[in-house]
């Protein structure tokens, strides 16, 4: 009888530990957890100075446009190449549909020591980025890197081949500088749809407030 009670207690404690650490069995990986957390409670991004390809400050958010943001480093040979092509597709789509005054693309380097404005400019040219749609930037002060990464929940680890591995995704930042969603890299169309939905919702709110 006492054993039954003890077994129940242990099972209950184990079950609670599992439910608590997996957000109610919804997130078994840290990446799932990060996405769930952001979608349930938007994260206000810290104000950090990032410099664009011309060496001038770039804002992480835009008051009139939704920002689709990713992390890159220009020496990257693997996933950033893929991200580059996803963002290239998005740029093509945005320009074709004339959405550049609603959505912008921003690639932030997490390798500010190497990725100077000149390096970023060369990379942007290589990716055929249109500055009106797609900007590249890196931290002005590389000491702020841990703060930037923890703000977004990015973990960067060396890949053992002289490069880095990181959790790559498309981050949706709204007009008020909040990280509101983290979307799959493999599905840029969904990220664009999410951005447009946010713009629509915002316009509807503004229209109601105006009338």
């Amino acid at each position: 009888m006492r054993t039954l009670l003890a077994v129940l207690c242990v099972a209950l404690a184990g079950g609670s530990a599992l439910v608590l650490t997996t957000d109610g069995l919804r997130a078994f990986t840290s990446e799932d957890a990060r996405r769930l957390e952001v979608s349930e409670a938007p994260v206000q991004l810290s104000v950090l100075e990032v410099l664009g390809t011309d060496g001038r400050p770039v804002s992480l958010s835009d008051p009139d446009r939704v920002t689709l943001l990713d992390f890159v480093y220009t020496r990257c040979e693997t996933v950033c190449r893929a991200l580059g092509s996803e963002f290239q597709q998005l740029q093509t789509e945005i320009r074709a549909r004339g959405l550049q005054d609603r959505v912008r693309l921003l690639s932030i380097s997490f390798d500010p020591e190497h990725d100077t404005p000149a390096e970023l400019a060369a990379y942007a040219r290589h990716q055929r980025a249109d500055g009106a749609v797609w900007q590249f930037a890196a931290l002005a002060n590389s000491a702020e890197l841990p703060k930037l990464l923890s703000n977004f929940g990015i973990v960067v680890i060396p890949d053992g081949l002289g490069g880095f591995e990181h959790n790559a995704a498309i981050h949706v930042v709204d007009q008020r500088g909040r990280l509101v969603r983290i979307m799959d890299l493999a599905n840029p169309a969904a990220a664009l749809a999410e951005a447009l939905a946010r713009i629509e919702a915002d316009n509807a709110t503004k229209a109601r407030a105006g009338s």
Binding site: G14, L18, T21, T22, T29, V155
Partner: protein
């Protein structure tokens, strides 16, 4: 005297495993972390429990641990928990999760030590079978996952760790089967011997 020496060795091992340099070395690779460090911590818990007099048969705790059910459940839950990718990430990134990892696995090791001899072959088979099955499935999932499951480990590491997790599950099962045969319980189970199953264990301990 012997128990005291065992406890000292276990304590030394624990202090060694808890050293930041040693933890860093183990945890820099997923396979070393999951398949060497975690079992070593659990084994340390096992040794520590033995150092305090071993599984005393008349312990008042046994009323709460008939057939070792409570202890084995605790041990299986704790060791399974640290196969969750998010838990592994947390242990690597957050000091409190690392402390929880050490604490829970030490407890699991101690619980195994106290409970394993109390459990008959049927209860052992139940817990061991479930653990091996689950570890093997987790190992296969690690090998098949299209993306990285742990933010702190590379994809190659994940496949490697998954492979060794399957190997560990198979070895644990085979070791138990060997023990079943070696102790003579298998023959008794098959009805060739009138001595009841598990009796050999009781005589030994």
């Amino acid at each position: 005297m012997k128990n005291r020496r065992g406890a000292l060795i276990a304590l030394g091992l624990l202090l060694f495993l808890a050293m930041p340099v040693v933890r860093g070395w183990f945890e820099s690779h997923m396979t070393r972390h999951m398949l060497v460090q975690l079992p070593l911590i659990t084994a340390t818990g096992w040794l520590l429990a033995g150092g305090r007099g071993g599984p005393a048969r008349a312990s008042p705790l046994h009323a709460w641990n008939a057939y070792g059910l409570t202890g084995l459940l605790l041990g299986v839950l704790a060791t399974s928990f640290w196969m969750i990718p998010r838990a592994i990430d947390a242990a690597r990134l957050l000091p409190w999760a690392e402390a929880a990892k050490f604490g829970s696995l030490l407890a699991a090791g101690a619980a195994f030590r106290y409970s394993w001899p109390l459990a008959g072959r049927i209860v052992q088979a139940f817990f061991l079978g479930n653990w091996c099955w689950m570890a093997a499935v987790v190992g296969l999932l690690y090998q098949d996952a299209p993306t990285r499951l742990c933010a702190v480990y590379l994809a190659d590491e994940q496949i490697n760790a998954g492979f060794w997790l399957v190997v560990a599950a198979l070895l644990a099962f085979l070791a138990w089967c060997f023990d079943l045969w070696w102790s003579g319980d298998l023959r008794r189970l098959l009805g060739d011997d009138p001595v009841p199953m598990g009796a050999a264990d009781h005589v030994k301990s």
